[in-house]
């Protein structure tokens, strides 16, 4: 049975621009996506910032009404059956908001337990268990405003699990966490699946999707560009090599010029302090390096280390989203 079924889901936002001559601008955030998530599956939605991940989660959690298409959670429509869905789902949106900062962690959880109409005795038993699970035991009486970002994120996890939901929506749950905190949270997520929960995870970290998800949908510009297992996604870059070039202060026009080269598939840029790292996908491997160097030298770019390597899952993702990372 499918826990989540999505058909041609679409969401358009309208924004008014201009002061005197006001115009309405339409932005298509989600553009007709379709997919199913099986009961008990850990499903990933992977995409760059602004790809439509959060909008999708907000529609699935009944917080946003779709402009078109349908979505059902546990057989209930997200618009007509919102009341039946809400007690059965839990969600975390990345970031620190969504908690009462002037209250303690315990008061926050107590409040949400009441909002979910939990039996007070069950809530009383569950609170210490969850605090233990997220590593906040001993800190539960402190106000949330004194918590670190990681502690707040862990409190979000406890809040999300409080009413024992069947389906969990985790929207970039590790965003902003330090590596240790993120690893611990990933462990918690993995444990959820062993408890037969269905987890819908959005992330823009390929390795996170790879480590956790059974299947991954890659979304870009509101459309699903690939849906496969992590292993299946790797197949998208089997024919390519990756050339990494360290450069200092490269202009966007130069990057565009590289993208125009024959036999260059995608080019992405990652800023690293004073320098940038260019990641170029090409079927030619090291054979294309002289042409790249010639193009860079011709435009006066300062070039550092150059390496050629086999592609990874992250490269598959970069290729699927056209270098927009």
């Amino acid at each position: 049975m499918n826990a989540i079924e999505v058909r041609d889901l679409r969401r358009v936002f309208r924004a008014t621009i201009g002061t005197i001559r006001r115009r309405t601008k339409e932005v298509v955030a989600v553009d007709g996506i379709s997919f199913d998530v099986r009961d008990g599956e850990l499903f990933g939605l992977l995409g760059p910032n602004g790809a439509g991940k959060t909008t999708t989660v907000k529609m699935l959690t009944t917080l946003l009404i779709p402009t078109g298409g349908t979505a059902t959670i546990l057989g209930h429509d997200v618009v007509q059956g919102a009341g039946s869905i809400r007690p059965r789902i839990g969600f975390i949106f990345g970031g620190e908001r969504g908690l009462y900062w002037r209250l303690s962690a315990k008061d926050n959880l107590r409040y949400f337990a009441d909002l979910y109409h939990m039996d007070p005795d069950i809530a009383k038993r569950r609170l210490p268990e969850l605090l233990e699970l997220v590593g906040l035991t001993g800190r539960e009486d402190e106000k949330v405003e004194g918590y670190s970002r990681g502690m707040r994120q862990r409190l979000h996890v406890a809040r999300c699990l409080l009413h024992d939901p069947q389906v969990l929506f985790l929207d970039e749950p590790t965003m902003g966490l330090d590596p240790v905190g993120a690893r611990e949270l990933r462990q918690v997520i993995q444990n959820l699946v062993s408890q037969d929960k269905t987890v819908f995870l959005t992330t823009h970290y390929m390795f996170e999707a790879d480590a956790l998800c059974e299947r991954v949908a890659v979304i870009n510009h509101g459309q699903i560009v690939a849906l496969d297992s992590p292993e299946g996604l790797k197949g998208h870059v089997e024919d390519l090599s990756v050339i990494e070039v360290e450069v200092f202060g490269i202009a966007p026009a130069m990057v565009d010029a590289l993208r125009q080269m024959a036999d260059v598939d995608t080019v992405s840029v990652e800023d690293r302090d004073q320098k940038q790292s260019l990641r170029i996908h090409s079927p030619l491997g090291s054979a294309i390096v002289p042409q790249i160097m010639q193009r860079l030298d011709g435009n006066g770019a300062r070039v550092g280390r150059v390496t050629v390597r086999e592609p990874t899952l992250e490269d598959a993702y970069v290729r699927l989203v056209g270098g927009e990372v």
Partner: protein
Amino acid sequence: MIANLRVIRTTFELDLKQQAVDLFMIFGVVIQPLLIAIMAIYMLLERDASRGIYVVVGSGMTGLWTSLLFRGAFNINAERFMGTLEGIVASPSALATVVIGKTLASVTLSLLSMIFSYGLASLVFRLPLSVAQPVPFLLSLLVMVPTFIAFGLLISPLMAVNLSLSGWVNALEYPMYILGGFLFPILLLPGWSNPLSYVLAPYWAARVLHATSSGVATPADVLLSWAMMLLLGILYIAASYRLFKVVLRRARVDATLSLM
């Protein structure tokens, strides 16, 4: 039903905790009514010191209204800014239940305005203060609380419909002091403005509290005020029920449940 009452109780308790450390609420509930009371006492001392209780009730009502108006207006918006509105809306509890708990906290806290004004007039200005008809006065206070909660229920979704509407809150503060007859009788106002007062529950609350504290209330007066408070309260609840539905639907369409 019990689950909803638990939501109201917990919201009340936790909102009270948060409001108690909110400097703006402390200003609205304690400092501003005291300033109004001081001003009114000086005006009164020139004329008739025996009406000190009128000042206490009137300035207390100003505190009550300020608290109700501002908290009512920002109840939903504050949750939106904190990012907690989505958590509430996505829960099985109705948003109105949460607003009831919050408004109850505001009303309870703002009743302190009356106590502070009483203490100021009695201890600092040594005015003779006594409630002439204490039983009807206390019963009127009890009737007033649910009526004010109903008024809060109406204000909250109204202000949440459109964020720019909440900017009008400041403009609504002082007209109620006048139309509600908090500090002087509405008979001093032009006759055309009186019907406006009659559809405002705070006017009937101020009227009966002033009358019972000053000892001029007849049983018919008291019953009329209570009946009007309850009737208006029911009308406010009916209107707010529809408003909450509209607000939540619009928020889900317009994507305004959070600051995305």
